[in-house]
Amino acid sequence: MNVLTYVHAFFADGAHWQGYDGIPRRLLEHIGYTLLALGLAAAVGLPAGLLTGHTGRGGNAVAFVATAARALPSFGLLVLIAVGIGIGLLPVMVPLVLLAIPPILVTTYEAVRSVDPSPVDAARGLGMPEAGILFRVELPAALPLVLSGVRSAAIQVVSTATIAAYVSLGGLGRYIIDGLYQRDYEKVAGGAALVALLALATLALFWGAGRLAVSPGVRRR
């Protein structure tokens, strides 16, 4: 039996579509963890990236934070916090948020830094306040890159949120962990396929968001 047969068998089994362990419920849990982690990371990373990018100060701090966060092992943090304070949402959120911050922060910083300086100077010359420059000149121009940073974070969080299952939470990782211990490859392959599909859907979502949100003038470049 190859992997595709397992995947097919998994989706064909009606029992996998209902109840607390059904696909809809697990999918929603997974999306929930992802959105929460991404939201928290964006709440930290976006303002910090915009501010450091706009002022041009703190670039080294940004690089340091990114390197440090990248060095922390997600799975290790998960187990450490779970063993330390017990199972729950917190041990899952800490590694996921730390995972999502570097791509958002670094890309936002780089995006704002790489905006063509001439329109920024022109805006400043016209007497636009700094906040106006940031939000009405720099941000629209930087938006495609900023979105790509958030997208990169989102894909990683979707994929990594599977570890929540190791500390007995839900999400699509449930199928992978349960399948490992139950030696049920249908579950493992089905779970992996669902995570990959969700990642693809995330890509599509960001592509669509880019089409809608990015100014046509910027997009054409």
Binding site: I87, S168, D178, Y181, R183
Partner: protein, 303 residues
């Protein structure tokens, strides 16, 4: 920087030398070095402890022993026993029978062992069972026991009314095993609100039950936290969880006769009280299982 690089290089070398032998060539793993007895263990503390006891007892008879610890659940280890990558594994006779044949009845420990031997892969056999028993059981925490008036005399059947309000926890494999949710449903008609996958009777399960994250859980009867946390173990009159005497599962061809004798000698000396005491040393006193194993073998005159 140079010092760091040097340390890293030293560590790399240490890693290469200390992982010599079978680990060095991953593909060689399937066929263990000839003459070496590979003792495996499942992913819970007692299994590691028992594997250490078996392994050290075999070493005492002059056999070459390699350990393969923390492999996973029975669903995985049984496969590794069948293909010969593991020679000896601590098992529980009735639990193994339920895995091999979920419908098999369990009347007596001897009958169970006989039944297991019939169902086993032809390359495998069970040696003598020890009197030491460690069953799965369903336990509720003190608060739940109080709320639904459950005592040590209550049975699983008494849980029927309460079950739909309760979350039950256990290892991921508990969800699909007969000695798990399947059997609880078909034998006692228990339908729980939901199942929470934890670990095989380990700290995750213990703390989830103690903190009321789950109200009922699969707890091993030798678990030292039952007394400590005031869990109430429910009686199992239908004998769903059957017999679970600690018994070595071995691959016949790869274990010499003196090994068989050594393991049978261990089984003869190991009883439930002893097992509980050794478990407590590992799980509560945080002693290393290998040290505990060696100390017990010495005290039992098996070293």
């Amino acid at each position: 920087m140079a010092a760091v690089a040097l340390t890293a290089a030293a560590a790399l070398l240490a890693g290469c030398s200390s992982s010599g032998g079978t680990a060095d060539n991953p593909l060689a793993e399937e066929k263990a070095e000839k003459g070496t007895v590979v003792v495996g263990s499942n992913n819970f503390a007692e299994s590691t402890l028992l594997a250490d006891i078996y392994g050290e007892a075999l070493k005492a008879k002059g056999l070459k022993v390699a350990y393969k610890h923390n492999i996973g659940s029975r669903e995985t280890t049984y496969g590794l026993m069948k293909n010969g990558s593991v020679t000896v594994l601590p098992e529980y006779n009735g639990s193994l029978l339920a895995y091999l044949d979920s419908a098999a009845g369990q009347e007596s420990a001897e009958a169970v062992t006989t039944a297991v031997k019939e169902k086993l892969d032809s390359r495998l056999t069970l040696l003598e069972s020890s009197p030491a028993e460690n069953k799965d059981s369903v336990a509720v925490n003190a608060a739940t026991a109080k709320k639904y008036r459950l005592t040590a005399d209550s049975t699983l059947a008494d849980l029927k009314e309460a079950a739909p309000d309760l979350v039950i926890g256990g290892s991921p494999e508990f969800q699909t095993r007969r000695q798990g949710l399947d059997g609880l449903r078909s034998v006692y008609g228990l339908r729980f609100d939901s199942f929470k996958a934890l670990d095989a009777g380990g700290p995750l399960t213990q703390s989830a039950l103690a903190r009321n994250t789950v109200q009922a859980a699969d707890i091993f009867t030798t678990d030292p936290t039952i007394v400590k946390e005031g869990f109430v173990v429910l009686q199992d009159p239908e004998n769903l969880f059957g017999f679970a005497n600690v018994t070595p599962l071995v691959a016949k061809e790869n274990l010499p006769e003196e090994g068989v004798e050594a393991l049978n000698a261990v089984s003869a000396k190991l009883d439930t009280a002893t097992l509980r005491e050794l478990d407590a040393r590992v799980q509560l006193e945080k002693k290393d299982p290998l040290d505990v194993a060696k100390a017990w073998l010495a005290s039992a005159g098996l070293d």
